[in-house]
């Protein structure tokens, strides 16, 4: 720095003054702001904001939040709900991928749904079964690919499995499936056909680590 001593002193004084003014200003503004807030009412953001954000199409299904990466459920979602038994009739495209597979937030939500929808009451909090079947083994009466599981949850099954498709949107069903997958409760779509035939062997169960096969307890 090449400033003279006098300018330096002056600058110091000016800085000190500015600082003091700033401090006082802060205090004054803060006090004024806190004191001046008493007259407002509660739902400023309520009515005004809410009424402005009315959707244009109330009647139609709101897909806004459900279109993120979801496959076209087409066939799945339009299957008649009820007791559709029998693997033999399963013409499902087993390669449909669960859009939420591995999504930790979705899996957490799937877990909450699994408990909240009382799935745990039948299948166990550990998915090991109870009133309903074990969901962590390789035996799936109606197929164990993610799409198969989706279908079972969506449509219900004859021996008491409710048809959740009547109650919750497809995205939530996929999240439940994601949770089951995260617990090793599914086999890859590529093995769907063999799985439906009950032909999954040890080599398969060990080849995709998510499953708890006999060699992979």
């Amino acid at each position: 720095m090449t400033t003279t001593d006098s300018t330096s002193a002056r600058t110091t004084a000016a800085r000190a003054a500015a600082l003091a003014v700033a401090l006082l200003g802060c205090a004054a503004v803060a006090l004024a702001s806190l004191g001046g807030c008493r007259a407002d009412t509660q739902d400023v953001r309520g009515g005004a904001v809410g009424d402005r954000t009315l959707p244009q199409r109330q009647a139609g299904p709101a897909k806004a939040a459900d279109t993120t990466g979801l496959p076209n459920e087409g066939i799945l979602a339009n299957v008649a709900i009820g007791d559709i038994a029998g693997v033999g009739n399963n013409t499902l495209d087993a390669t449909i991928r669960n859009p939420y597979v591995g999504d930790m937030a979705a899996i957490k939500e799937g877990h909450d749904l699994f408990v909240g929808m009382n799935c745990a009451g039948c299948h166990g909090y550990d998915l090991k079964g109870g009133m309903g079947p074990d969901l962590t083994d390789t035996y799936w009466r109606y197929g164990g690919s993610p799409a198969d599981i989706y279908k079972s949850v969506f449509e219900g099954r004859p021996q008491g499995m409710p048809a959740w498709g009547r109650s919750i949107p497809p995205a939530l069903v996929w999240k439940v499936v994601a949770y089951i997958q995260s617990k090793g409760g599914a086999y890859p779509a590529a093995l769907a056909d063999r799985g439906r035939q009950g032909d999954l062997g040890d080599e398969d169960t060990t080849s995709f680590g998510t499953l708890k096969g006999r060699n992979n307890p």
């Binding site: 009382n118 745990a120 099954r157 008491g160 409710p162």
Partner: protein, 649 residues
């Protein structure tokens, strides 16, 4: 009333003899020939009723004549002879006492398999008691609830007819604890029983033709029916199951002829729903008040509060009063239902005609542990504190044996009959349990360790037996504890409204089961036979002073009803959770029948090493020399008895 000749604990029964009536009934129903019995000991004789002739064959001469069995024909379904078994507990009092005396403590070791039958439904547990009348055995399978009539007059007891009701398979997934059935009742030529999908059916006992079918509830909502109906005075009493599915419990009375519903009494809700009126006089003050079935709950919670009467109904023909217990409170997570939660986990005494409640008692108010109150209420007269009282005895799931005055609902004796640690006792003033602070499961969301008993109780539904000859109750006791974690649960129709996570383990000593003889007048255990596996079968006791029970690992045993000495054991194909019964066959001999097909609540211990596979076979035993000859050489070797027609009269 009665002479109390002897104050020793063994001979304190009032006695009212009606042997004549029973004998007439037998003669009418069976038309027995007695000639075939000549080579056997006296106990096998047809007219041997109650205990009288048994004195020679048993060391029981010190014991006086029976009380309950000799109460009179009114305590038996109409037309029941002493060799018949027309309802699961044989008599309305629920004693499971057979007056047959051919099998005694002296010869029980010679029991042999006579024949077997398989109903083919090994997927589910076999909790029923076979019935016998008119030389026919009646069996109801678990889901799909097929009924079979087996012709006992022919070798091997072939199927006479089969009835297939085809209930909805949805019911399988709505039954909490296996798609079981606990049996049927024979009444007025009809076989009456419940289907899992909430229908009661009556089938012509002679032909197997369906006479009527009444729908009582919607299975889609989670209601199922597993209990055996009680039929008395032309009314069929049936109750629902579904304490884990958010049902509201009810007991309905149907007309036995038409199946038409006469009335329905709920276990929860307003007084009109519960059928509480001016007649209702509970003994304890905390059960008095208006609409307690609704006001002891949070808003509307009673609608899903369970109290399902899925156990046994007993009937006092003198008081014209029925008794039945109500199930656990729903959901299990008690945090969601602050309040006393009446009238779940309790017992009702109702006017048998119109169903109006006379008194009620709640064993486990604000039930936090799934201690149902549905166990059998056995109606006997016992000397309590020196005075003969008309009592009902219930071995409750919560581990206490309650001896209750059945006219007033006053608890006379309440003592533990097995290992429990959740309550330190029963308050003598209020009869409420004194809960140990560390066994509360509220607040939920944390593990509460080592609560004994576990949810299935020190005793579950499996019915005990009472011998008027010994004055003792024969009870299969469970020694099982649990770690319990309450969980939030929401009611969604048709899904479990349960709210608990559990792991179960064996109680102190390492034996899951025990067969106990219990004195309900004093609340004392007389003897016990420890079993490494769960004892989850019903009990049977005969006038030959032989008691029968089974274990979950498949042992079927005969024991001396007085000493508890095991006389005979036979390993069956699967675990035993049904109840044994005894009948007199067309050949005049005494038989004992039992179903072996493990399942139901016994599956809570399925991880125990050595646990058997499921099964569906009925086994029928009789004394070796009576086993019908199938291959002449074997029959000849077995006994020197003269070659009889062997079941081919």
């Amino acid at each position: 009333m009665t002479e109390r000749d002897d104050r020793s604990s063994r001979s304190r029964r009032p006695r009212r003899t009606a042997r004549g009536a029973v004998a007439i009934a037998i003669a009418a129903v069976l038309g027995m020939t007695t000639a075939a019995c000549g080579t056997k000991d006296d106990a096998g004789r047809v007219p041997s009723l109650g205990a009288t002739p048994a004195t020679a064959a048993t060391p029981s001469s010190a014991f006086a004549a029976p009380a309950v069995a000799a109460r009179g024909a009114a305590w038996l379904p109409p037309g029941a002879g002493d060799g018949d078994w027309l309802m699961p507990s044989r008599d309305y009092a629920g004693t499971r006492y057979s007056p047959l005396t051919e099998i005694t403590t002296g010869n029980a070791a010679q029991l042999q398999l006579a024949w077997t039958f398989d109903d083919g439904e090994s997927h589910y547990g076999h909790e029923m008691t076979p019935l016998v009348a008119n030389n026919t055995m009646y069996i109801v399978s678990p889901f799909p609830n097929r009924a079979f009539a087996l012709d006992l007059t022919k070798p091997g007891a072939p199927v006479k007819w089969k009835y297939e009701p085809n209930p909805s398979p949805i019911a399988i997934g709505k039954a909490c604890c296996d798609a079981v059935n606990r049996g049927a009742a024979l009444y007025d030529g009809k076989l009456i029983y419940n289907l899992l999908d909430d229908h009661t059916v009556a089938v012509d006992a002679a032909t197997g033709k369906e006479l009527w079918r009444t729908k009582l509830a919607n299975v889609e909502d989670g209601t199922t029916m597993t209990m055996a109906p009680l039929v008395a005075d032309g009314k069929v009493y049936v109750g629902n199951s579904g304490g884990e599915m958010g049902v509201a419990g009810w007991l309905a009375a149907l007309d036995a002829n038409s199946g038409k519903e006469l009335w329905r009494a709920y276990s929860v809700g307003s007084d009109s729903l519960v059928r509480i009126g001016a007649e209702f006089k509970p003994f304890y003050a905390w059960m008095r008040g208006k609409d307690l079935g609704a006001t002891t709950w949070p808003a509307g919670a009673w609608k899903h509060g369970a109290g399902a009467p899925w156990g046994w109904v007993t009937y006092d023909p003198e008081l014209k009063q029925i008794f039945y217990g109500t199930s656990n409170t729903g959901p299990w997570n008690a945090d969601q239902r602050p309040g006393l939660n009446l009238w779940t986990s309790g017992v009702f005494a109702r006017n048998a005609a119109d169903g109006m409640a006379r008194w009620a008692f709640v064993f486990t108010p604000h039930n936090e542990w799934d201690y149902d109150g549905v166990n059998e209420n056995i109606l006997v007269d016992l000397p309590v504190n020196g005075q003969t009282r008309k009592v009902m005895v219930q071995f409750n799931r919560n581990g206490f044996a309650y001896t209750i005055d059945r006219t007033t609902g006053e608890v006379l004796v309440a003592k533990p009959f097995g290992h429990e640690n959740w309550a330190s006792g029963i308050d003598p003033k209020t009869a409420m349990p004194i809960v140990n602070a560390d066994k509360h499961t509220v607040p939920p969301g944390r593990w509460v360790r080592d609560i004994c008993p576990a949810d299935i109780g020190v005793k579950d539904f499996e019915p005990s037996a009472f011998s008027p000859r010994t004055g003792l109750f024969y009870v299969t006791v469970q020694n099982i504890c649990m770690d319990y974690k309450g969980r939030e649960t929401g009611y969604i129709a048709g899904t479990p409204y349960w709210g608990a996570q559990m792991t179960r383990h064996v109680g102190p000593g390492g034996n899951y089961g025990e067969f106990v003889a219990f004195d309900a007048a004093t609340g004392k255990k007389v003897w016990g036979i420890p079993e490494p596996f769960l004892t989850y079968s019903g009990a049977l006791v005969t006038a030959g002073d032989v008691a029968f029970y089974g274990t979950v690992d498949g042992w079927f045993r005969a024991v001396d009803a007085r000493s508890g000495k095991v006389l005979w054991s036979r390993k069956l194909g699967s675990g035993i959770i049904g109840a044994p019964m005894s009948y007199r066959g067309p050949d005049g001999h005494q038989y004992v029948a039992i179903a072996a097909g493990v399942g139901g609540g016994a599956m809570t211990t399925a991880s125990q090493p050595g646990f058997p596979a499921r099964g569906s076979t009925y086994y029928v035993f009789t004394l070796g020399q009576n086993v019908p000859a199938t291959t002449p050489s074997t029959a000849g070797e077995q006994s020197g008895a003269p070659k009889k027609e062997g079941g081919k009269p």
